[in-house]
């Protein structure tokens, strides 16, 4: 690497870091600010007052609980529905296998807002508008591709020779699956679960369309929050909403960066 290359790389890194992290930092500082005067780069004073305000507001607090309830329900349902399918896609040859894989991907090929507007007619007909089930279904749709494609790639990557060795040593099929296949595929499944949790936790537009005016999760609460509350409250809320995501990021960072996610989106 030449000296010019290193300097250019350094400049690019600083610019990209400011582009990506800058807005987040700018917002985060606001959560601790008493006030702000343009064009100062720092707030007028520091306070923790706004955190108390959020926790004391029953509406905001219930939306936090609701978001977590939806996210955990969604990944549980998604895991039960999708993981056996992922194994079948990876290991079994059956008629329509490729068609089904592409069909599942097609959920992603429909722009979300249009899809939710279309689903609304069905939800009105079956009385699913503004129900817990209706919102879980909307969240589930955002997880299907993650929960089938990524674990399928993970199952497919488990070496057959290891499974055969276990079988030769006398292990029964279920035992082989539990002690060899599952542990080796676990990183991929973990990435899929994380992505699904985030997809549900962050889902705003469909939840708003289907859930309002009964169910307000944290992301949908943000829609009204930024209009009706002081800016600092929205900033505090943003920090709270980011905590689970960032915790998960630290947990699975190695696997996501290691290519589990990218691998999962190649058709097999």
């Amino acid at each position: 690497m030449t000296a010019t290359g290193r300097v250019l790389g350094g400049i690019a890194m600083v610019l990209l870091a400011v582009f990506i992290v800058g807005p987040l930092g700018w917002l985060a500082v606001r959560a601790f600010a008493t006030g702000w005067t343009y064009p100062h780069l720092l707030p007028d004073g520091w306070t923790l007052h706004w955190f108390g305000e959020v926790f004391a507001d029953p509406l905001l607090f219930s939306s936090i609980q609701l978001s977590l309830a939806f996210a955990f329900t969604t990944i549980a349902v998604a895991a039960v529905i999708c993981l056996p399918a992922a194994y079948a896609f990876a290991r079994f040859d059956f008629p329509g296998r490729r068609l089904f894989l592409i069909g599942l991907f097609a959920t992603n090929a429909f722009p979300k807002t249009g899809l939710f507007v279309s689903i609304a007619a069905l939800f009105y007909a079956f009385d699913l508008m503004a129900t817990f089930t209706g919102i879980v279904i909307v969240h589930l749709l955002g997880t299907v591709v993650f929960m089938t494609w990524i674990p399928a790639a993970a199952f497919a990557a488990v070496p057959r020779s290891l499974e055969e060795a276990a079988r030769d040593a006398g292990a029964r099929p279920l035992r082989v699956f539990a002690s060899v296949t599952l542990p080796l595929a676990l990183p991929g499944i973990l990435v899929a679960l994380t992505m699904s949790f985030l997809a549900s936790f962050d889902e705003a537009q469909g939840t708003y369309l289907v859930g309002a005016p009964v169910y307000y999760t944290m992301p949908t609460e943000m829609y009204s929050l930024v209009l009706n509350y002081p800016r600092q409250v929205a900033a505090v809320f943003s920090i709270l909403l980011s905590i689970p995501s960032v915790a998960l990021l630290l947990l699975v960072r190695r696997h996501v960066m290691g290519g589990q996610l990218a691998e999962g989106f190649q058709l097999r």
Binding site: G5, W26, P84, A88, R91, A109, F110, P111
Partner: protein
């Protein structure tokens, strides 16, 4: 791969059924509704909607709702805005992803790894927050303007502009493209790159003749996902964009909820689906090509 037709079908059925019932089926009824069919599943939504165009029998069609939408100059203007934002976002995102991937592949330094890690951060930030953060960053009293003012200059206010929508879309879409392209470029064997360099190939030549052809599939996947996500975006333009022009996702929600014109909202959805289907076909083509090349098809 073992032939297990019954077990395979049974295990694969649940997610396929979920998608068929809650994606395929609603889209079918939505298309029927847009053409004037208000019976069956569309009965309930049709009862509360205003200004519908209806037909009396299943073999008839009406394009009335399409004419309504076309007559609304805003929708045409917003369609152009949506396509423009989608194009710019896709090109910039794929370009940035390639730059990061090349830097990482050819330098492999600690700095390059940090750069790639930073580019993935947005994946873990909820879109609502990202939109709000980016809006405040580029607002009239935001960081960019404050910094310019301190340095004695004057920066434009980008908050609530189409430029701000594009910036926010690039921000939210960069991680996925970076992961895809990086993993594709990393997978190119070092021996191939060195062989080309030994044969006297220049850096651009190596990129064009060695890296690009071998990483074309992840690039197409990254581009299609980015384009489709941008086409259907609602939260980003809703938060960061101006009232007019905006993107079709915002128009759809407004027609549906604010104006109570679900039929016209569905018409816009159908238009967006048609564009997205074209992009989706590109993805399937790239994947099948790769599968064939690998001898799997």
């Amino acid at each position: 791969m073992r032939r297990r037709p019954i077990a395979g079908l049974l295990m694969a059925a649940p997610p396929v059924l979920v998608v068929a019932v809650f994606v395929g089926f609603p889209i079918g009824t939505a298309i029927a509704y847009s053409l004037g069919h208000v019976g069956g599943l569309n009965t309930t939504i049709a009862r509360i909607a205003r200004d519908q165009h209806t037909v009396d029998a299943w073999w008839q069609q009406t394009l009335g709702a399409y004419a309504d939408v076309l007559a609304d100059g805003r929708v045409l203007r917003d369609l152009l805005t949506t396509v423009a934002v989608t194009l710019v976002t896709t090109v910039v995102v794929v370009g940035l992803a390639w730059a990061i991937a090349l830097y990482l592949r050819l330098s492999g330094s600690r700095a390059a790894q940090v750069l790639a890690a930073i580019a993935v951060i947005p994946m873990f930030i909820p879109v609502v927050i990202a939109s709000w953060a980016i809006l405040t960053f580029y607002a009239g009293d935001g960081f960019v303007r404050s910094l310019a003012a301190i340095l004695g200059g004057d920066a434009p206010t980008l908050g609530y502009t189409v430029v701000c929508i594009t910036i926010a879309m690039i921000w939210t879409q960069l991680p996925f493209a970076t992961l895809m392209v990086t993993s594709g470029v990393q997978a190119v064997p070092t021996a191939l790159i060195e062989a080309a360099a030994d044969a006297g190939a220049s850096f651009p030549r190596i990129v064009r003749s060695v890296l690009l052809p071998l990483a074309v599939v992840p690039t197409v996947i990254a581009a299609t996902f980015t384009a489709i996500a941008t086409l259907g975006a609602f939260t980003v333009p809703y938060f960061t964009g101006p009232n007019a022009p905006t993107m079709l996702g915002v128009d759809m929600a407004a027609y549906f909820q604010s104006y109570n014109l679900p039929q016209q909202a569905v018409v816009i959805a159908v238009v967006v689906f048609v564009i997205a289907a074209g992009i989706g076909a590109l993805y399937v083509w790239a994947n099948l090509r790769a599968a064939r090349a690998a001898g799997r098809a």
